[in-house]
Amino acid sequence: MNATDTSAQPLWERPAIQQVRRVLAAPAVGPLIALLLTMAFFSLKSDRFLQGPNLSLVLQQVMVVGVLAIGQTLVILTAGIDLSAGTVMAFGQIVMTKLAIDSGYSPMTAILLGILACVAFGMLNGGLVAFVRLPAFIVTLGTLNIAFALTHIYSNDLTYPPGESGASSLPSALLFFGRTFTIGHTDVTYGVVFMFVLFALAWFVLTQTAWGRHVYATGDDAEAARLTGVKTGRVLLSVYIVAGLMYGLAAWLLVSRTEIGDPNAGQTTENLDSITAVVLGGTSLFGGRGTVIGTLIGAIIVGVFRNGLTLIGVEVIYQYLVTGILVILAVSVDQLTHRRRL
């Protein structure tokens, strides 16, 4: 393959094309192209789409699922899956609001305890998966129900704050991420900025630290990683704990957005959307391959569709149809271009 006569080389072997191919095959490029195409489409059909306030809105609608999806990405990278993401977040959210209102804890303490509650679930998930060697699907199916039950028991099925109060009586610390600052004509929510910060941190940890490499190695081939000396048990446990931390932070973002503690949160939409975002972002469900940047793009794609379809007057129900098709396509494209063993 050392042909010096470039004119005789087949098209796909030429150096320039090789460069293009390398770029196209880079992770997250596929989802990015899909996102750009989608945004181009909607901006053509509606002049309200590509405006600052609308885009800021899309990101606000995405921020809770986005942060959930960071945790989900980590878990899926280890060839696991976390079905409890949404309901654990709901539990954390209820703990935060109830402790702040009923038990008189200071807001920051309540928030911390809510996050800790989610981390505790993460430890439970991680411990069972890593050391008792139970399948992640089954374990998190169990914790999904446990978290759901605890949420309703602890909140008595009430939306917090209870009673007839008008404007939200939640302490402002809980609502912090709903506050905005203005750039030009656009209001940017702190929560959205926080989401980007978290994604940047996740990207750094996954690509620039040894732990990140170990996560990929464990998901790729756990036995090979173990034989190479990676402490796969500890890696798995830490992944689920970090995921729990993400769910706790997502809970805080959710409270900031809805200004209530909602016992019905996280059951379907947020839960499944977190997995959808990961898959659309190009991460393989069989572990070891994928990026958090892809997940961010995947989450934004779902948000863009929901928003865009409403803007052009199409019923939101079509969003589910398109999301379903996209998920299947994303998985197929992934399989075809990278020949993964899905």
Binding site: M1, G30, T310, G313, V314, E315, V322
Partner: protein
């Protein structure tokens, strides 16, 4: 060494797959968009309607009524619904997106009395009026106005009827509600108690279950109630699909139509037919078409004159029963069928 065969296939399939992805996505959305109602920019008043879910016949009828009213008044309707009767996240996103899409007003049956308030407040701040249909927000003042059945009254009527129908007999009551945060559920439930003449913790109430306002879950809830106390002979149900589910459970347990008194709220044509068949003994008929058309009318009026609707407008309720009883005013099944919806 590199396998040229593999690289060749990979390049081709990458191009193919990306093209496929773009094509299918584009086509799907184009087809979906083509079926949307034509919107001429600027002149037409846009009205948004958001219901709890899209499948309950009550909401289907409400939507039909709104669509008809919009057409009549030269406005255009954007519709959205949650995935279930407790899906708050979808409703919140819909409120935000409709506001960006430029609606003048939003009509909404809120899934939870409080969960949507923050989003509603934002919409109102942006100059959009929000009218609650059928279900009030908590507090009522969160929306500009409420067009609804007096649900408390509806409960009283069926409570009175149930009491009259079982006069002198020993009663054991089962109550099939929907989820805890439902304000309409609470009103009807408490109205029934008042009409029947008992208090919340009356010993006559053997069981209360969550039937989610749908047939199948209500059947399960009723079955569980019967396991707890097989002697239940009076059943309050939050709506007619729920009543049907409860009847299925009672039938399987060997109860007879004559031996059980089932009361409900809705007045849909299917439900009134069940009254005729003796399955439901009495139902409070409400008028979703009226709610919808009045709502659309109010938004168009606001768009044209700037006059905002306010307060509570009672869209009326009538008790429909097959067997009239002394002391309880009711209308005949014939009347019910003539004025039913669905």
């Amino acid at each position: 060494m590199r396998d040229p065969q593999r690289e060749h296939t990979s390049w081709r399939t990458l191009v193919l797959a990306t093209a496929l992805l773009a094509a299918v996505v584009g086509t799907t959305v184009l087809v979906a968009a083509a079926s949307a109602k034509p919107t001429s920019q600027g002149a037409t008043v846009k009205v948004g309607l958001i219901t709890k879910d899209a499948t309950n016949p009550f909401f289907v009828k409400m939507r039909a009524g709104a669509t008809k009213a919009a057409k009549r008044l030269g406005a255009s309707l954007i519709y959205a619904a949650g995935k279930s009767s407790s899906d708050n996240a979808s409703q919140i996103a819909a409120i935000e997106n409709m506001t960006t899409a430029g609606v003048k007003g939003i009509l909404i049956t809120v899934a939870d009395g409080k969960a949507e308030n923050a989003a509603i407040a934002k919409a109102r701040k942006a100059g959009v009026i929000v009218i609650a249909l059928d279900t009030p927000t908590v507090p009522k003042s969160a929306t500009n106005a409420l067009f609804a059945t007096n649900n408390f009254n509806a409960g009283i009527l069926i409570g009175k009827y149930a009491r009259a129908a079982t006069k002198g007999k020993k009663v054991t009551i089962g109550m099939i509600d929907e989820h805890a945060g439902s304000s309409v559920g609470a009103l009807r439930h408490n109205g029934f108690l008042k009409g029947f003449g008992i208090k919340k913790n009356s010993k006559l109430i053997a069981c209360a279950g969550n039937g989610e306002g749908q047939t199948a879950p209500s059947q399960t809830a009723m079955e569980n109630c019967l396991q707890k106390n097989p002697k239940i002979n009076v059943v309050y149900t939050i709506n007619e699909p729920s009543a049907l589910g409860a009847w299925n459970a009672l039938k399987k347990a060997g109860k007879s139509k004559a031996g059980t008194t089932i009361v409900s709220v809705d007045g849909g044509c299917a439900g009134v037919r069940n009254v005729k068949a003796g399955i439901i003994d009495a139902t409070s008929q409400q008028y979703p078409l009226l709610m919808a058309s009045r709502g659309v009318g109010a938004v168009v009026k606001f768009a044209k004159t700037g006059k905002k609707p306010s307060g509570y407008t009672d869209t009326g309720v009538n008790l429909i029963a097959k067997k009239p009883l002394v002391g309880v005013k009711s209308k005949s099944v014939k009347y019910g069928l003539a004025n039913c919806w669905g």
